[in-house]
Amino acid sequence: MSFLNASLSPCADLPAGVWRATERATDVLQVVPSGHAVLDASLPGAGWPCGALSEVLQPPGVHLEWQLVLPALVRWQHTVAEPGQPGRSGVVLVGPPAQPCASGLQARGLSVADMVHVQPDDPVQRLWTCEQALQCAHVGAVLAWLPHVPMTALRRLQWAATRHGGLLWVFRPLAVAQQATAAVLRLELGQGEHPHSLQVRVLKRRGPPLAQALQVPAPDEALAAVLAAARWRNARRRVTVAPVIQQPVTVQADQAGAQTEASTETQIEPLLGAHRGVHATPAALAGVALSAV
């Protein structure tokens, strides 16, 4: 016992920067809260690490990047970068899968004045662009889509990010999940169970491995409200229309519809009230989703 105590005692007065593998690291890096409470609870330091590479893996055909990173980006622009100052408000997108919709992003709170979309041809140029962006004092965040990138290049990016101190996300296909990575954080991002939610699996973090996937609600409140309204509308329609068309199914549909209506109506009404100012909400209400027919 005395031997054990003696062997443990050096660990007790280790400097603050040393992280024990059994614990979730807390004070290793400066972080930006991700804006998702569920995700923050599982990330070391409760947020996206600054000055480090965060890797996000997505299955083919899935692009849910903005839902994941937008709250943190908006927060970064509002807190770290001072408005009107040539601070770290620049956002560089390297090789995104499509055009970023400036109006849509602006409406969700992002300042797009300093957002630059760079579309290099080949993987080497993409890496070069990332490295250059990480040398710029004005850039606050770099979002890079790097499908083919060697491990050495990732390590170099991680090093560049450490020197830069901003946010760096690298989006890669899910197929590379088995490969080693230099990233501090590696997440798998997919669609959640709910039509407007995310499923995040933490593959690598400074802390013990996390077995279960996290269900993260999307931060997009306006869209969520409209979707909920449409659902509510469909449920009502099922209730009124279904009995006339097909008698045997009516009982089930009626019951299901009544339950949905009862459960959603109380939640939806205040939301609708709050978003009545939104221009397209009437569209959602007037629109009869074809799926109901």
């Binding site: 055909g61 899935v62 692009h63 990047e65 903005w66 839902q67 937008l70 040539p86 620049g90 899968p97 499509a98 055009q99 970023p100 919709c101 400036a102 109006s103 849509g104 992003l105 602006q106 409406a107 797009v112 004045a113 957002m115 630059v116 979309h117 760079v118 579309q119 290099p120 070069w128 662009t129 250059q132 040398q135 710029c136 004092a137 004005h138 850039v139 020197r163 830069h164 101190g165 669609q191 039509p195 407007h196 997009d220 306006a222 869209l223 409209v226 979707l227 449409a230 100012g277 939104v278 221009h279 397209a280 009437p282 569209a283 959602a284 007037a286 629109g287 989703a289 074809l290 799926s291």
Partner: protein, 457 residues
């Protein structure tokens, strides 16, 4: 107290021609530069205090030459007069660290052939036992003047500072235009970099003297004459922020050169300024200098980053999307070339923008159908919609649209053209998530009716 006269003689070794670029380069250290016989002479006495003395000026010049990649060939000699400096340069008494102005006694030991005025008579004088300036100075003046002419004595007096020198100073032109002919052919764009650096160093000297900063320059080169290729080539460079330091231009030029192909070896290269503006040097202060210490050592500015990216990847690869004041989805945002200058928001976000997608496809993508349902990685489930947009023309600058779920009022548009109708939906794909799709109304049989236009990512 003003400094005593300090003259520097500069010359590139080996060299052919007058090295005009070296004269332009030297202008950044003093405005008093001239070409005398075979070297560039700089009168640095007026500016010596500005540079902090000779011991600081000389390393600065060497650094500047090193930056330009041409340190090797240039030798410097120091003297109290232009001709003395030139004579010391000819005698090989080049400046080394710690050297000061030569004393009069040192000057008197210089060989006679270093004095241009005595060159014609060196053989005769040598037979008389006169080999150095001191021996010539000790001869009786009237006899020397009668025997070899007054010019010999005048040359010696000027060199020793006993008679005033007259100079034809180099006057910088109103626009920089310099051509550099390289001793051998340059086959690749990489080989063009040394002359490029030299010309940019010369441009820097010119800009400093005229207190200008360049906004745009033009590079052009002459090819070795061959039958089936063009005889010249070139490109123009433009920068967002007026730049005086050569480093920025070197990097921009190198990136542009890397994308050029040379049809034939290059024999000469030329640099012209096409646009320049008065330069106001930023004032330095202690606070920002202290703050800069904590920054990234190689941190670059936003305009510099954008220019580097554009120079290497091309203008089309670097885009800034500006929201436009229209709700026509195809014209919702315009591509602008980012300049790095602060931009004021063109339009404020409207409430309905919150329901716009975050990714936009550049062109609507037709969707395959399964029965009556559009498919994109599985059958789509339409969640919200339709939102009908009615337009006379898709997309068009002149077309005026009226938006509205009921397609109520039409504003503008041409009366004869039938309006195009689109019903926008938020749909869910089992794999790809929420999508922004539309149905084209009135699509003919066989034409695609459903299109994917954006994603809610």
């Amino acid at each position: 107290m003003p400094h005593p006269p300090h003259w520097l003689a500069l010359r590139c070794l080996p060299s052919d021609g007058a090295d005009t670029w070296l004269g332009s380069w030297a202008l950044q250290f003093t405005p008093r530069v001239l070409w005398l016989e075979e070297a560039w002479l700089l009168d640095v006495a007026p500016t010596l205090r500005l540079w902090g003395g000779l011991d600081r000026l000389m390393p600065r010049m060497t650094d500047s030459l090193k930056e330009g990649g041409m340190c090797r060939g240039v030798q410097v000699a120091l003297g109290p007069t232009a001709r003395a400096a030139l004579a010391r340069w000819r005698a090989g008494q080049w400046w080394a660290e710690g050297d000061g102005l030569p004393t009069r006694a040192q000057l008197l030991t210089l060989p006679l052939h270093t004095l241009a005025a005595a060159r014609a008579h060196t053989a005769v004088l040598a037979r008389l036992g006169v080999h150095t300036w001191g021996q010539l100075a000790r001869l009786p003046r009237d006899g020397v003047s009668r025997r070899w002419g007054a010019l010999l004595l005048r040359g010696l007096d000027e060199a020793l500072g006993r008679a005033p020198e007259t100079h034809a100073w180099l006057s910088p032109p109103t626009d920089f235009d310099e051509t550099l002919t390289w001793p051998h052919h340059l086959d690749t764009t990489d080989q063009l970099l040394p002359p490029v650096r030299q010309l940019l160093a010369a441009l820097h000297g010119w800009l400093v003297l005229r207190q200008r900063a360049a906004l745009a320059v033009r590079w052009s080169w002459q090819h070795d004459k061959r039958r089936h290729v063009a005889h010249s080539g070139g490109f123009e460079l433009r920068t967002a922020q007026p730049a005086q330091q050569p480093g920025h231009w070197v990097r921009l030029t190198a990136e542009h050169l890397a994308r050029q192909t040379l049809d034939a070896p290059v024999v000469s290269i030329r640099l012209q300024t096409t646009e320049h503006v008065p330069f106001a040097a930023p004032s330095a202060d202690w606070v920002s200098a202290a703050a800069a210490l904590h920054q990234h050592p190689a941190a670059i500015g936003w305009p510099v980053l954008l220019e580097r990216l554009r120079a290497r990847l091309g203008d089309g690869a670097v885009t800034h999307w500006q929201p436009q004041d229209t709700h026509v989805p195809d014209a919702m945002q315009a591509a602008a070339s980012p300049t790095g200058q602060p931009v004021t928001a063109r339009r404020l976000p409207a409430a309905r923008d919150a329901l716009l997608p975050t990714w936009l496809l550049p062109e609507p993508q037709p969707l395959p159908m399964r029965g009556h349902r559009p498919c994109y990685q599985g059958e789509l489930e339409l969640l919200v919609g339709p939102q009908r947009l009615e337009l006379a023309h898709w997309p068009g600058e002149a077309a005026h649209a009226c938006g509205g779920e009921l397609g109520d009022v039409r504003v503008g548009g041409q009366a004869d053209a039938p309006p195009t109708l689109r019903d926008y939906f938020v749909a869910r794909s089992p794999i790809a998530g929420l999508l922004w799709v539309f149905r084209q109304q009135g699509a003919a049989e066989g034409e695609p009716a459903w299109f994917l236009h954006g994603r809610f990512a």
